[in-house]
């Protein structure tokens, strides 16, 4: 980055630093920092019993467990599906490739509520996919597995878009030389490709996971929202707000924020490691 190159004594030739910096800090504070601080203030402002009582109730604990586990399984599935997609999109030429490539972004562009009603309808017992699953006694509606389906959709582009550029930079010659030296395809994949792509893959998984634990719109339609069974953590916040239990809502939100931010920090570490791996 060139920002470190000039650090220190460089004279500011361009105008507008004070104004642009001032407005940036002001707007950031007004829209993001001050509003976010209300959660922290509220969490520390209430008495500890209220706080711990709210976050340790069986319903809330079940919702944390559900949000974390469904996001985890969905991001693992995305790792496989996203890697596969990124690989075929970069390495192979086939009809429809450009359309697939563009549509990878659909989960970013499609409003989550629309995704939610789509999956709830597709997997209902009379839906396009649900009717076949019903015949083999698999039901996804009102089940954690249904939540996983919605989160797979939401997290998919994160993995593809982080892995894709790294595959594109890989020289096929490396694989070819490994193979000419006698490595099998599987060995080449495991010993050469996977270690090289792993940091990017991990970044994608982390992004998908972090997005998944906070996701709301696409999940609530398929989840059925049964207490202790299919209530996700963001829904618990919503429920407490509807009951005007602001303390409870803030406490649940505070813990969820802690989880998200620690994911972000972890991601930072991963990315630093990723950069080192490329040097």
């Amino acid at each position: 980055m060139n920002m470190t190159l000039f650090k220190g004594k460089q004279r500011k030739i361009l105008p507008g630093f004070g104004l642009s910096m001032g407005y940036t800090v002001f707007y950031l504070s007004a829209i993001v920092l001050v509003p976010l601080s209300t959660i922290v203030i509220s969490a520390f402002g209430m008495n500890p019993e209220t706080f711990f009582g709210a976050i340790s109730s069986p319903r809330v604990l079940a919702s944390y467990k559900l949000s974390i586990s469904t996001a985890f399984f969905a991001s693992l599935f995305d790792a496989v599906a996203g890697f596969l997609t990124a690989w075929t999109l970069v390495r192979y030429r086939f009809p429809g490739r450009k359309i697939l490539d563009a549509l990878v972004d659909l989960p970013f562009a499609l409003p989550t509520a629309v995704a939610g009603i789509c999956f709830a309808t597709l997997y209902s017992p009379i839906g396009w996919l649900g009717q076949f699953l019903a015949k083999v006694n698999i039901e996804l509606i009102n089940k954690p597995s249904g939540i996983v389906i919605a989160l797979i959709f939401i997290g998919f582009p994160f993995v593809v878009r982080t892995v894709q550029p790294v595959i594109a930079e890989l020289e096929p010659e490396i694989e070819e030389s490994a193979q000419s030296l006698g490595a099998t395809r599987w060995q080449t994949f495991r010993k050469i490709l996977l270690p090289h792509l792993f940091p990017a893959l991990l970044t994608g998984i982390t992004l998908a996971f972090a997005r998944g634990i906070g996701e709301y719109g696409s999940v609530i339609f398929i989840a059925g929202n049964l207490p202790l069974k299919t209530e996700i953590a963001p829904l618990m916040i919503m429920t407490k707000l509807d009951q005007f239990d602001y303390n409870g809502a803030s406490a649940v939100a505070f813990v969820l924020l802690l989880i998200s931010f620690s994911m972000l920090l972890l991601l930072n570490g991963v990315q630093r490691w990723q950069q080192k791996a490329y040097q």
């Binding site: 980055m1 060139n2 920002m3 220190g8 030739i13 361009l14 105008p15 630093f17 642009s20 910096m21 940036t24 950031l28 993001v32 509003p35 976010l36 509220s42 596969l84 997609t85 990124a86 075929t88 970069v90 390495r91 192979y92 490539d101 563009a102 549509l103 972004d105 659909l106 499609l110 409003p111 989550t112 509520a113 629309v114 995704a115 009603i117 789509c118 309808t121 597709l122 996919l129 998919f156 994160f158 593809v160 878009r161 982080t162 894709q164 550029p165 594109a168 930079e169 096929p172 070819e176 997005r211 906070g214 709301y216 719109g217 963001p234 916040i237 707000l241 602001y246 939100a253 998200s260």
Partner: protein, 285 residues
């Protein structure tokens, strides 16, 4: 939270593979299978459900007064949110890319904060800040200003969730362009504003446009945050996604998918524009 390199993926053609035909066919087939279940089917479903009772009912569901009100409110919100966040994105990118200062890394990561926050929490924080039960909120209420369960609440919650889009498009772009051109112009006597208008803006116009498109798409489609602050009052504080939800929960599936089809159409347009913009960014560099 997306990484900076995400957008280059579609530009780099990538090496052709020498994988055996069987492997290629298998992997391509698996990719299509995944897309069939997770991308194509949901898209087809929306239009099939929306049109299943005929084109007349489809059109009726879209032009029905509550739907129109929802569209109006959504467009109004986007019309306020996108310019505000675009101006912010430009100022932040100018400060961050053209100057060196302490704490730059911290500032850049703070800009991404809204991406790490659950949409429901994005709504909650504004209820805690200006809701009618807070001191500030009740003071506003005494003066006849209502924010939560009203349009201003929807606008600020949307401002929050779309906050980073323009800035994070522009910062890497302007950083890669450096500051030599602008500095040369200043040395030759140009005014700051002229430099920005004549040199910087043309250089970043595609990135700016792309950031604004992402911001627009998200502000139209935001559901969780808006759901918390809106109060779901039909014809008053209902945006398009909230209208879809209400119709769906009333088992009015045809109308729900009809209104949803507008959003799907907008999403597809966003993706198409992304392709065009990417090509132009690529050609410019």
């Amino acid at each position: 939270m997306q990484t900076n390199n995400t957008r280059q993926a579609t530009i780099i053609p990538g090496p052709r593979s020498k994988d055996p035909l069987a492997v290629r066919v298998l992997l391509i087939a698996l990719t299509f299978l995944f897309f069939a279940g997770f991308i194509f089917m949901p898209l087809a479903l929306v239009f099939s459900q929306a049109l299943q009772k005929g084109i007349q009912l489809y059109l009726d569901s879209i032009v029905e007064p509550y739907a129109i009100e929802a569209v109006k409110l959504t467009l109004l919100t986007a019309a306020i949110v996108v310019p505000l966040n675009a101006v912010f994105g430009l100022t932040a990118a100018w400060a961050i890319s053209k100057f060196s200062f302490k704490g730059k890394t911290l500032l850049v990561s703070l800009l991404d904060l809204p991406f790490a926050v659950s949409p429901v929490i994005a709504g909650l924080i504004f209820v805690l800040l200006v809701g009618s039960r807070t001191p500030f909120g009740s003071w506003l209420g005494e003066h006849g200003i209502k924010i939560i369960f009203s349009t201003p609440g929807i606008v600020i919650a949307t401002l929050f969730v779309t906050f980073p889009f323009v800035a994070r498009e522009l910062i890497p772009l302007m950083e890669s362009q450096g500051r030599e051109e602008e500095e040369a112009a200043i040395t030759l006597g140009a005014k700051g504003w002229q430099v920005f208008r004549i040199i910087t803006l043309p250089n970043i116009r595609w990135g700016l446009m792309y950031g604004m498109i992402l911001c627009t798409a998200r502000s139209i489609g935001e559901f969780g945050a808006v759901s918390v602050v809106s109060g779901h009052i039909r014809g008053m504080t209902n945006t398009i996604p909230l209208h879809v939800e209400i119709l769906y929960s009333e088992y009015n599936y045809t109308a729900s998918f009809a209104v949803a089809s507008i959003l799907v159409f907008l999403a597809l347009v966003t993706i198409a524009i992304k392709g065009v913009v990417e090509k132009n960014v690529h050609n410019n560099q």
